[in-house]
């Protein structure tokens, strides 16, 4: 029987250090996090940020160096067995044994979680159908494609209908079609089981599209925690990208408008109605101290709070001052922009530098 818990996952000061020769690697540094029942949370960060280490602690694979975590109301250290009974886990590798047969692995997993033979068989068959694996039931796991194996891993993680499903980079290595396919299955399973889902990923688009809540992790710390939309609106803003034969003048105009908008005087300057302009073009810097306006050849990029409202203001002001504009567009932010704003590095750069450091 499942106990009712208000918070499905509670993490306090969770820390993990690894000894590597004569140095200590601080993989996770004092995380605090609460996850409510039914939430779908993506933990986003570059390789080496501490995502998987956190997940390994929450799934009882490794013990924390300090701090505590409760999963489904059970402490991950003192009640590890109870945690394991509560959760489903899909790791980075292939969970199904390569020499095993697809159906056998599902039934074994059911038996492992205490299902009787009849229930384990029924459950295996249901999941084979649900995850489009029924035609592969008698095949050896080693003969499956990468996408099929991943779906089987998800099925194995769901056999016992867990309250909480942990997915550690579930779509890494899959092509876009297989990723989309896998996610449609996971989301459907989640809806049918009313599960709490925690996933790690370094795919920004995946976190953006799938998760109701995004926890951004870097160097073992949580640096942001909100919905993807709010993170993007609050931290990254929109980008207006304009090409001009006078990029310097255009950039100067954008900076002036931004400063005047901050003082409430942009409407007069741009000769547009105040209600249309106010607050729209306030510059959002990539991070404090960095310019909100950048020039790259003929291309001028302006970070603003509200792109669709700021663009006409900027164009009207440019026309009024005779600054030539050739093309102009508004680009909506991505989670990479959020990461850039927070850390000064893009997720891709961070991943590359972490790999180089490793």
């Amino acid at each position: 029987m499942r106990s009712t818990v208000v918070v499905m996952i509670r993490i306090r000061g969770l820390t993990k250090d690894f000894a590597r020769g004569d140095r200590t690697v601080h993989a996770v540094r004092g995380l605090d996090l609460d996850i409510a029942p039914g939430e779908l949370v993506a933990v986003l960060g570059p390789n080496g940020a501490g995502k998987s280490t956190t997940m390994r602690m929450l799934t009882t694979l490794i013990a924390p160096s300090a701090g505590s975590a409760e999963v489904g109301g059970h402490d991950v250290v003192t009640e590890a067995a109870a945690v394991r009974r509560t959760i489903g886990y899909v790791g980075q590798g292939n969970g199904a044994g390569h020499n095993q047969r697809v159906r056998d692995e599902l039934r074994t997993q059911g038996a492992v979680f205490g299902l009787d033979r009849h229930t384990a068989r029924r459950r295996a068959d249901e999941l084979l159908d649900a995850l489009d694996l029924a035609s592969l039931a008698g095949r050896k796991v080693s003969s499956l494609s990468g996408g099929q194996r991943r779906r089987l891993d998800v099925a194995i993680g769901l056999v016992h209908a867990p309250s909480i499903l942990f997915l550690d980079e579930p779509s890494t290595g899959l092509d876009p079609q297989n990723r989309a396919n896998l996610w449609s299955h996971v989301l459907r399973m989640r809806a049918e089981h009313a599960m709490t889902v925690v996933l790690t990923t370094h795919y920004m688009d995946e976190a953006d599209a799938m998760a109701e809540r995004v926890v951004v992790v870097d160097h073992g710390r949580i640096i942001a925690d909100d919905t993807a939309d709010r993170l993007k609106a609050d931290l990254a803003g929109d980008r207006i990208v304009v090409t001009s034969s006078a990029p310097g003048r255009l950039a100067e105009l954008a900076r002036r408008l931004s400063a005047q908008d901050a003082r409430g005087g942009v409407a007069a300057c741009a000769k547009v109605p105040p209600a249309e302009a106010r607050g729209a073009i306030v510059g959002i810097a990539a991070r404090p101290g960095d310019p909100a306006v950048t020039i790259d050849g003929a291309r001028v990029e302006v970070r603003v709070a509200d792109g669709p409202r700021a663009l006409p203001v900027l164009l009207a002001a440019a026309q009024a001052e005779g600054v030539p504009v050739e093309t102009a567009q508004v680009q909506r932010p991505t989670l990479d922009d959020v990461f850039l704003t927070l850390t000064g590095r893009s997720l891709r750069e961070a991943a590359t530098s972490e790999r180089s450091a490793a």
């Binding site: 013990a63 959760i87 044994g97 074994t108 979680f113 205490g114 459950r123 999941l127 159908d129």
Partner: protein
Amino acid sequence: MTATLTAPVAPPRPSNLARDVGIVMLRELRPVLHDPFSLIFGMIQPLVFLALFGPLLAGSVGTAIGGDVWGWFVPAILVMTALFGTSTTGANLLFELQTGAHERMLVTPLPRSSLLVGRALKEMVPLSGQAGVIVAVMLPFGLRVDALGVLAGLVVLAVFGVGLGSLSYALAVAVRKQEWMFWAVQQTLLFPLMILSGMLLPLETGPAWMRVAAEFNPLAHVVAAERALFAGEFLAGAVLAGVLSAAATAAIGPLVGIRVMQRSAD
């Protein structure tokens, strides 16, 4: 994709070590059962060894072992088969360590000990079949065994195999990032243990230091116990020594295995 999922499913049964060991053992056995060729070759190999090595043994050391070559050699061949099987338990694990299948099992309610014991006991199933085939084949050639003694011998081997299999498992976990190291260590330890057990050649004709070393080799006591049990000598001192050696190995092996598993996580 019209399947309807029925969740939540039946509440889990309470933990039961024997059931969990059985689940692990059955999972390990399935690929073997699905592959009859490996089973058939597994049955034939000890017979080939007996056919080639037995006559040599009879001609060279027959008197040193009291003339009953098959009664001396058949139990030893079964110990050797169990030794090879359980000491390579870790090799099968290495692949699952690399792919992630082992990690998946660690995030289940299965106790760590069931993973060790279940994998080791899996080797005992084909071994029992091999024992039956070998005894049946060798009976016309003069082998005389006590049926109860053979069964008791298999139980002792199973107990010893649990310990050895767990140690093999621990070795695999400890050297999981350097696969070659597993084989280097396993082979380096296996052959001295075998030679110093009097399994293939009698130690009675060897130097004194070898006989002394054999006293500290648990495998030597297990081999002596198997020979006594196959002969129906249940009350022989060798049986007690062998049972104690097997039990000690079975106690130490899983402890080491679990400890290595816990340490490997960090």
